[in-house]
């Protein structure tokens, strides 16, 4: 398992380099201009100067290599400096700067992560926690009323877009009932019970919207996997042994059914870091997803490039984690 992991990590390096080049080319060659959103009253000569100041006049290859050096060398050095108060990074080691805010992209990401992890992460956890029991129960009582309702709710959760459910919730709970704020306050610090309550109140709606969506997906997986296993011979064996139904379902069936589900859950974790572009916009959570979409709209190549590359790293990493988990959970799988 260890050598397998090492081997996979080594293979990941060229993969990621190729991915970074492709992302760079796609982002750079796309017809976008960081000055396009400025008022028309700013004359074209000034725009040209602004583009030059952003380094847009350099050849593409030079910009790519600079980004690589910044991402893999300068940024880690700066991070070490910040963490341990060192001064490893030289004066000329310019960090990756966003074209829109002119501030380091890494700082923006660090600033955006808390709300994304809070909202999107919580919704993922809540979604999983809802999905598993629903999936188990609907499989155990296949075609029962509970299963039919579960199937319907999943279908709704899966097919109704979050911008619809989100706005619907806002109109009901913010506009008409006035229970929850329609705008998320990212500056709220949880220091005592009352601020904690405020935080819960502002998280309820976005978390509910996303959790419904996540739960819809995962509960279907759980159900399918349970159904696969419920009809296996070893389940009959367990019953023949005289094990209680609880042991049969929760120990025998569930543990085997969780193998693919855990993999699916692990593969979904990078999307948590990616944020939820639409839901973040609807509730003004302003997390990573919103950062990405703003950067795309503003032609902010360094931010888009850095974010998408981090997503790529996370996806590669969690694919590996999913595979390793699979190996740990399923004794039939050996990677050596």
């Amino acid at each position: 398992m260890f050598t397998y992991t090492i081997r996979r990590l080594l293979i990941a390096i060229p993969t990621l380099l190729v991915i970074s080049l492709i992302i760079f080319l796609v982002v750079t060659l796309a017809p976008s201009d960081p000055t396009a959103n400025l008022p028309l009253s700013i004359p074209s000569e000034v725009r040209a100067q602004m583009r030059e100041a952003l380094g847009l006049n350099e050849p593409i290859l030079v910009r790519y290599l600079l980004w690589l050096r910044q991402f893999f060398l300068y940024e880690p050095l700066h991070m070490l400096d910040q963490a341990f108060g060192l001064s490893l990074a030289g004066e000329d080691m310019q960090r990756i700067l966003s074209w829109q805010t002119r501030s380091p992209v890494a700082d923006l990401i660090v600033q955006r992560l808390p709300q994304t992890l809070w909202v999107v992460g919580t919704s993922y956890v809540v979604g999983v926690l809802i999905a598993l029991p629903i999936g188990i129960a609907s499989a155990y009582r296949q075609y029962s009323w509970f299963d039919q309702i579960g199937t319907f709710v999943s279908m709704v959760g899966f097919s109704v877009p979050t911008f619809f459910t989100g706005v619907l919730l806002i109109v009901i709970f913010s506009v008409h009932l006035g229970w929850f704020p329609s705008i998320y306050d990212t500056t709220l610090r949880v220091t005592d019970l009352s601020t904690f309550w405020l935080q819960i109140k502002q998280m309820i709606m976005p978390v509910a919207v996303l959790a419904l969506y996540n739960a819809a997906q995962i509960s279907r997986f759980m159900r399918a996997s349970m159904l696969d296993n419920l009809n296996q011979d070893y389940v009959r064996t367990a019953r023949a042994k005289g094990m209680t139904e609880r042991v049969v379902v929760l120990l025998h069936v569930l543990r085997n059914s969780m193998i693919p589900v855990v993999t699916v859950i692990a593969l979904g974790v990078p999307t948590v870091f990616g944020g939820a572009i639409i839901t973040e916009q609807v509730f003004k959570v302003n997390g990573i997803g919103q950062l990405l979409i703003i950067a795309i709209q503003g032609g902010d190549v360094p931010t888009v490039q850095t974010l998408t590359f981090i997503f790529a790293v996370l996806i590669v990493l969690f694919n590996l984690i999913a595979d390793v988990l699979y190996g740990l959970l399923d004794p039939r799988i050996r990677y050596d």
Partner: protein
Amino acid sequence: MSETAMSDRSPRPLVEIRDLRMHFPIHAGVLRRRVGAVRAVDGVSFDIHEGETLGLVGESGCGKSTCGRAILRLYDITSGSIRIEGDEIGTLGQDALRPRRPRMQMVFQDPQASLNPRMTVARIIGEPLDEHTTLSRAEKRDRIYELMDAVGLNRNFANRYPHQFSGGQRQRIGIARALALNPKFIVCDEPIAALDVSIQAQVVNLLEDLQDRFGLTYLFISHDLSMVRHIADRVAVMYLGRVVELAPRDSLYGAPLHPYTQALLSAVPEPDPDLEASRRHIILKGDVPSPANPPEGCNFCTRCPQAMPICHRIDPEMREPRPGHFAACHLHDPDHIPTAGSTAANDQPQQGE
């Protein structure tokens, strides 16, 4: 038929099955309404005596595996009676059944699928001990080793997973697991069908050996007539959810009474090439009817080479033309004997060659 109709020995049988029915409902349509039933087991009765092996044979799909599982109440049966040591279990709920499970166990056909892939051998064998005994940890371990020894598994493999064993070894694990709680009655559901031929004999010998050592009673389900001939004391032949013939081994193999049994036996290859060449095979025409929609009259009438008009109307009852040899066929009904002297059907030339 009477309560003791199919028992030929005086002590009370260990297992008594009466008119067992197992129908699976068929649902269809948007609202999944019940539109019919698959009559997998449709009125089966027989006894199994303590210490004997009853072979249950038939083509695949005839309901013999379902019958075995129904007897162990792995299904909630549709109707009928199942008595084990005089104890009626046919109508018990699953919770009431659980404490009775140690007495009756099962060895499954597919040793790979029937073992939980995420449990070690020790856990698989030991799990029933957790549920049904109060043994200490060490006692349990000793019992597991004992069982592994009994089935010929190396003790060192106790912490391995099923996939790390060969097919024959896996079936030994399945047998050890079945033995863990000292059962009296074991249903062996095609225990050798998934194994290599070279391993089959080993497993069968092991089962016979264990039967002698522990005084076990087997219901041995198989489609392999020669293996059943080797292991069984008596044999029951099933066709389309019913037992059509039930007889002591030698009587059945020597002089089968039912046309279906005759056809089955004619298909068994003969080891002696000379004899094989001179044998006559009975080839059955047509397909087995759907158990959801069995034919009127005798179940076998659609394929029977000797079918008579009555066969299409009246379902034949089980009769005992010879002592201890039962068959359900109008050919052996004194009221319906078509032509004189045709009772020894296997002596008559049949179609085919």
